[in-house]
């Protein structure tokens, strides 16, 4: 049962409290012994400040009604600390929540700090207190409050390291709250920060990225746009190498995402390459299915792996909701490959391979043919599917090759014209700028830059379209 379970592998890269839902799920699916699970949960939470909940667990484990004294003591302490922090941050919270202040805040953090200090007597220490308060709240399980505090903190703080960890905290809170929209945005912000920050060692960055990969799973599999997002994000070269280097098991989710997302079929080629690369360090039925189908072209193996996939996915916290989707799409991919290489297919065999009944398979194939507009017919007499392989006649090839030429010449012509006119315009603008002086130089430059990049994009599009 436990052999394809990734919980243990994922725990090191997750936050304590994020692990909790995973454990809940796993104990629900009864992968591990119930006793062990309880203990694990207790261990997990005993370092947090969720005293009441931990106490309950304690009672469950030890089968008693009475709690040791230190639980009560700790509870009091936590409450005391909370109150303290609340008092300390009272002032700054008031200031920040003042709409006037919010309106006057700018991009520049140093300037903001100066503003706050001069007008509202807020010191950096107070800002730091916000962070601590947020942390405390998180630890107590008050995620909403925590998210607020850390949001404010990350706006005000000038310390990049603490800001980063505040962002992590915020993401965790949003995930635990189930605010997927906000979490989705936060996650991308965090990703940008990680990509842009210059870490001391490459190892640190790698670690940050592998955390992000794990945490983002919560978001991607719960957000409506997540299926696209996961492919886009994970397929970035940086993240691919992170997966390959530190956490190959993430491939399962990537694979599942690619398989269930039929519109992103083109990604399959890349995915197969990655899976082949990593197959010596990690494989599970999901990746093996893809490998068997696209690398080895071993249909029997692929079919058996597909069966195994169902079991694995059902017991996976993130993928459990996508089982049917996955199987359906996997069959589709299977059939696609199968039809592409065959001229005539025996329906009985195909049905068996797809793990379907004969009639069901027939229906399914008809649907497939209709959906994908394949050039195929079912021969009822022989009980076969006959494919008409579409090949390119030479005429077609010539037409295709020359099709783009007109467009390309037009683009070229247009570019030439534009170049003349833009050169003239540029000169004008320069003069204008000189006249205006250096007062508000910045926004203008930005504007110009935007124009420039815009132009270049256009060009690349044009050139790209040519091919």
């Amino acid at each position: 049962m436990a052999e394809n379970d990734l919980t243990l592998r994922m725990i090191p890269s997750l936050d304590r409290q994020l692990v909790f839902p995973l454990l809940e799920f796993v104990s629900m699916k009864q992968v591990y012994k119930a006793e062990d699970m309880l203990k694990a949960k207790f261990e997990l939470l005993s370092n947090t400040n969720m005293v009441d909940f931990t106490g309950e667990l304690y009672m469950q484990i030890h089968d008693t009604d009475s709690l040791p004294e230190d639980f009560a003591k700790r509870g009091e302490e936590v409450i005391k600390k909370l109150e303290e922090s609340e008092q300390k941050t009272e002032h700054i919270r008031e200031v920040i929540e003042n709409p006037e202040v919010v309106g006057s805040l700018r991009q520049d953090k140093l300037q903001n700090m100066k503003l706050l200090r001069e007008n509202y007597q807020c010191t950096p220490e107070m800002v730091l207190e916000l962070y601590k308060y947020g942390q405390l709240q998180y630890s107590c399980g008050n995620y909403g409050g925590c998210a607020d505090m850390l949001f404010h903190f990350s706006i005000l703080s000038t310390d990049p390291e603490l800001t980063l960890s505040a962002m992590w905290g915020k993401l965790a809170s949003e995930i635990l709250l189930g605010n997927w929209e906000v979490a989705y945005e936060d996650m991308f912000k965090l990703k940008d920060t990680i990509d842009k920050t210059h870490f001391k060692t490459p190892g640190e960055q790698l670690q940050q990225r592998s955390w992000l990969l794990h945490w983002s799973l919560f978001v991607f599999f719960n957000h409506p746009k997540g299926r696209d997002g996961i492919i886009d994000t994970f397929m970035l070269p940086h993240y691919i190498s992170t997966i390959q280097n530190s956490c190959p098991w993430i491939l399962r989710y990537l694979t599942a995402a690619v398989v269930t997302n039929r519109r992103r079929r083109a990604m399959m080629q890349d995915l197969v390459k990655i899976i082949e690369q990593v197959s010596h360090t990690y494989s599970d039925p999901v990746t093996e299915f893809v490998e068997a189908l696209y690398a080895d072209f071993d249909f029997d193996k692929a079919a058996s792996k597909l069966e195994a996939c169902e079991g694995v996915l059902e017991r996976d916290f993130f993928l459990t909701g996508a089982v049917d989707d996955f199987v359906e799409n996997a069959r589709f991919f299977f059939a696609e490959v199968y039809c592409r290489v065959h001229k005539r297919i025996d329906m009985t065999g195909l049905a068996k391979r797809l793990n379907m009944k004969q009639e069901e398979a027939e229906k399914w194939i008809v649907k497939l043919i209709r959906d994908t507009r394949m050039d195929a017919k079912i021969d009822f007499k022989d009980n076969t599917v006959v494919m008409n392989p579409s090949y390119n006649p030479v005429y077609q090839q010539v037409i295709e090759r020359t099709k783009a030429l007109v467009f390309r010449s037009q683009v070229l012509n247009g570019a030439m014209d534009k170049r003349d006119s833009s050169a003239a315009k540029k000169d004008d603008k320069k003069q204008e700028q000189k006249q205006r002086g250096s007062g508000n130089k910045q926004p203008q430059q930005q504007q110009q830059q935007q124009q420039k990049t815009g132009r270049r994009q256009q060009e690349t599009v044009a050139v790209g379209g040519g091919y």
Partner: protein, 942 residues
């Protein structure tokens, strides 16, 4: 001047000669003349010569003109030689003028007889010294003289032939300074003898014949008579024989007239300007004579010999250190002295100090151009071991190079205080290791001597490990890293089995407890040991050491068939990005690791990878040089002497070498498996006629096909070529047999497995080749038949065909029901000529549009399109992949030009396919770029 005294005089000069010669041979051969030894000698001989000259002037009698001229020429020649040796060019020039006139006179008299040997030698010497000698150190007058002499010499061509002969002739002018010096001395002695002998009537004939003997070199005739009375009549060309005989005689005389000799010596010594060097010589003599210190010593340091004691050790050490490195110091004597001192060392501190001095002295006693003799090496090693034992036994004592210089004279009072001595053990061990590998470089690897020498690796390894333990205990971090690199260097190229034996020797070292780098649990597991050593370096060492450790780790992983681990390490570490900036040794190591990686991939049956790892190395014909396993024969550019020497020093000892033939065999076999189907597929589709995958292989195949007569295959290459041809015809069984016949597979540890693997690969590729070649001739083909034909299971054939169809390598599809492969008729061959032309035309038009766009881009963006820039980035990444640095420039240029088109070409992306993942992993798309470039380069030339 009594004959007695004269004899003594000889002997003294001969003594100084012999001692000079002994020390001379010790000092570097490279030094032209080591001054302190030769100066006294020449001064002596000159003194003797001059005084004798005066003598003869007084008593001069009439001589024949021939004799007179000969003498004049001879004496002038000698003066010039001496002057030249001492760089007194002014004098040499003026003498040279005289010599020329004298020589012309003599020539007339001689009437065709050959000129005196000395004269010729003099010319030769002058020519030589004017050729080489730098005038940097000369005074202005001498420099002028030197230039004049050079010009005059250039014009003076009369004896060119003889001079050339003389210079070429190794026996006569061996350039061995000692021999020359002795010759000279004897010459001058002989001269004086002659002149002294001349007046005596009975001797006249004899002396005449002697002088003739100088010219005609047949002095042996009257050796007997002249021998007894005077040690003269010594023909120049018989120099060596003369020397030996003469030496023997002096020794006998020595014993007879010991007193005289000693007196003379003392006089001479007193006359010496530097008493110290005299003492040294004296000591050297003592050492040579094996009388020890006490007997010889009358003065100098040796005189204090008996006073050796624990108290005076410091004093001796100081004098040793002061004289160390000076010219003319007798190193052997110093070693002797220190060894003696060691026995007097009273406490660990003294012992350590003496040992350190002794080790330095032992290493000093190595000729620079050659290697340390085995015996000396052993002694040095045991000294180091002893030093380590002293340190191990006395933990309060440490040696570090950062310590204060310990400058007290009361070492004797040392009572186990904590103390740091200044010194560097790591440099001793480094030196020991270097000398060891140097000796292995120099010994012929096919002799028992080499094997004998190899046995010392174990003890050397033990020493290294002991040193490591010491450094760990004392926490000298820098040294720990260095010593660990050394240690890994001894381990990485061997298999675990061998290493375990070596490691067993280390297992019961007493100092083991000091080491924490290698956990005790790792004992017996070589992989773990190497891993922990390397990891220590990854964390603690300097970048260059880290790189080396990484490469050796990769090598070791690859050697043990852990290909994936090795590859991942290679790619993750981004070594290839900076390897071309590393020093050459590291680059060589990189090349070695790369080729070992290729071998590992091959052993796992990863043909594509094996090919890619080896192709760059094998394509250059300098792979010997790149692996530091010899020098390539055909070299276009000449290397200077120092470069060549460096290259020789860089060579790896034989037992470390990667078998080049095996490497080539792996490369060619991989090439064959990739290239043959590729060629077949290109034949079917003229459009796909692309650059070859392996140019080297293609060239060999072409060459092989052009042969008029082909015998049965003999060497590895022949076998592969024969196999390739069989494979191209679809005769997979023959191809398999040829490949399996290759003997060299037995060098791979799992050779049977590899043969199996190759057989199955050949089956697959043969099937593919068959299908590519004959696809146009078939409408359909049965799976059953194919599986029988190529001896493969039906399932395998099926999946193979599926892959080919899916990847559009074949224009065909499978019919599941009837079990056949149906070819589509729409492929290129079937179309009409008109259609083909239309296709070509459309291609041309496309190319035209491309060019237009590029022209425009050139105008606008200064020649760089966005895709161009990307291309360059790629190119840059790929460029750094190989260790081969020279070819790279060209490659890049080629790749760059053609890159614009190639980048968008789908054919190219196919070539990259297998590597893209790897490239991404390594960050900059390195490997990817490397491969792609290779193909594009090919396209360019076409």
């Amino acid at each position: 001047m009594s004959r007695f005294f004269r004899n003594a005089n000889y002997s003294s000069s001969s003594d100084s000669e012999s001692s000079g010669s002994s020390s001379d041979s010790d000092s570097s051969v490279n030094e032209v003349v080591s001054k302190p030894t030769t100066t006294p000698a020449s001064r002596f001989s000159r003194a003797a010569f001059d005084s004798d000259d005066e003598d003869s002037n007084v008593k001069r009698v009439v001589k024949s003109p021939k004799q007179k001229h000969t003498e004049e020429v001879v004496s002038l020649s000698r003066t010039i030689i001496k002057a030249a040796r001492e760089s007194r060019w002014q004098a040499a020039t003026s003498d040279f003028d005289k010599l020329r006139t004298a020589a012309t006179k003599l020539e007339k008299v001689l009437k065709g007889e050959s000129m005196p040997r000395v004269f010729i030698r003099c010319l030769a010497l002058l020519e030589e010294s004017t050729d080489e000698k730098s005038k940097g150190k000369l005074s202005s007058t001498d420099a002028r003289g030197f230039n004049q002499l050079k010009q005059r010499l250039r014009k003076y061509k009369d004896y060119d032939a003889q001079v050339a002969e003389e210079r070429a002739n190794p026996t006569a002018s061996d350039d061995d300074e000692d021999a020359n010096n002795e010759d000279e001395d004897e010459g001058s002695q002989a001269d004086s003898e002659e002149e002294r002998a001349a007046p005596a009537p009975g001797r006249a004939a004899a002396s005449d014949s002697e002088s003739e003997s100088e010219e005609e070199s047949d002095s042996d005739s009257d050796w007997g008579s002249s021998d007894d009375e005077s040690s003269d009549s010594d023909s120049e060309d018989d120099a060596e024989a003369g020397v030996s005989r003469w030496l023997k005689k002096t020794t006998t005389k020595d014993t007879g007239k010991a007193k005289k000799v000693k007196k003379d010596r003392s006089q001479r010594a007193a006359a010496q300007p530097s008493a110290a060097s005299a003492a040294k010589e004296e000591e050297g003599e003592g050492g040579d004579d094996d009388d020890g210190f006490t007997t010889v010593g009358k003065k100098g340091k040796a005189a204090q010999g008996p006073v050796y004691s624990a108290e005076s050790i410091n004093k001796f050490l100081k004098t040793f250190i002061a004289s160390r490195g000076r010219k003319g110091t007798d190193k052997k004597a110093a070693i002797k002295m220190l060894e003696k001192l060691l026995t007097f060392a009273a406490n660990p501190l003294q012992k350590a100090k003496v040992l350190m001095a002794l080790i330095s002295a032992q290493f000093d006693d190595v000729p620079a151009a050659s290697y340390m003799a085995t015996e000396g090496w052993h002694k040095a090693q045991s000294s180091i071991n002893e030093l380590l034992s002293v340190l191990e036994a006395n933990h309060q004592l440490t040696i570090r190079d950062t310590a204060e210089v310990h400058e007290t004279d009361d070492d004797i009072k040392y009572r186990d205080e904590t103390l740091a001595i200044r010194g560097s053990i790591i440099s001793f061990v480094d030196r020991l290791d270097d000398e060891f590998s140097k000796s292995l470089q120099n010994i012929d690897p096919h002799t028992p001597e080499y094997v004998e020498r190899m046995r010392d690796t174990v003890s050397l390894y033990v020493t290294i490990v002991r040193a490591q333990h010491y450094f760990e205990r004392t926490g000298i971090k820098d040294s720990i890293c260095r010593i660990i690199v050394r240690r890994i260097e001894h381990l990485y190229y061997r298999t675990d089995q061998v290493n375990l034996h070596v490691e067993a020797a280390v297992a019961d070292l007493p100092s083991k407890a000091d080491s924490k780098i290698v956990p005790a649990a790792a004992a017996g597991d070589m992989d773990a040991i190497i891993h922990s050593l390397c990891v220590y370096l990854y964390i603690n060492a300097e970048p260059i050491q880290r790189t080396r450790a990484m490469l050796m780790h990769i090598f070791n992983h690859a050697l043990h068939k852990r290909y994936y681990v090795a590859r991942d390490l290679m790619l993750m570490s981004h070594i290839q990005d900076g390897i071309h900036q590393a020093d050459i040794d590291t680059q060589v190591l990189y090349n070695r690791a790369l080729s070992q990686l290729g071998l590992a991939a091959f052993r796992l049956g990863k043909i594509q990878e094996a090919f890619e790892h080896t192709v760059e190395l094998e394509s250059s014909n300098r792979h010997r040089e790149l692996l530091a396993q010899g020098v390539s024969q055909q070299r276009t550019q000449q290397l200077s002497a120092s470069e060549e020497l460096n290259q020789r020093l860089r060579q790896l000892p034989f037992h470390v070498n990667i078998n080049l033939e095996l490497l080539e065999c792996v490369f060619l076999t991989s090439s064959m498996l990739l290239e043959i189907p590729y060629m077949a597929s290109a034949n079917a589709n003229p459009e796909a006629r692309r650059a070859p995958i392996s140019r080297v292989f293609r060239r060999m195949l072409d060459f092989n096909e052009r042969q008029v007569f082909l015998g049965p295959p003999e060497n590895t290459r022949d076998h592969i070529m024969a196999s390739a041809k069989a494979l191209a015809e679809g005769d997979w069984e023959a191809a398999r047999d040829y490949i399996q016949d290759i003997k060299i597979w037995s060098l791979l540890p799992d050779c049977e497995e590899i043969k199996e693997m190759l057989a199955s690969k050949i089956q697959i590729e043969a099937l593919r080749t068959y299908l590519f070649t004959y696809s146009t001739q078939f409408e359909s083909i049965g799976l059953e038949d194919l599986s029988v034909m190529f001896g493969m299971s039906k399932g395998k054939v099926y999946s193979l065909l599926t892959r080919m169809v899916y990847r559009s390598e074949l224009q065909a599809s499978l019919d599941e029901v009837s079990g056949v492969l149906v070819f589509n008729m729409a492929n290129f061959e079937a179309s009409s000529r008109m259609q083909q032309t239309a296709l070509t035309l459309s291609n041309k038009v496309n190319a035209f549009a491309d060019i237009n766009e590029r022209m425009f881009e050139l105008k606008i963006n200064g020649g760089q399109t966005p895709s161009d820039r990307q291309q360059n980035a790629n190119e840059h990444g790929g460029k750094q992949q190989g260790g081969d640095r020279e070819g790279r420039q060209n490659q890049q240029r080629g790749g760059n030009r053609d890159g614009q088109r190639g980048g968008n070409n789908s054919q190219d992306s196919k070539g990259n396919k297998n590597n893209q993942g790897q490239g991404q992993r390594s960050g900059g798309g390195n490997r990817n770029g490397g491969r792609g470039r290779g193909q594009r380069r090919g396209g360019n030339r076409r």
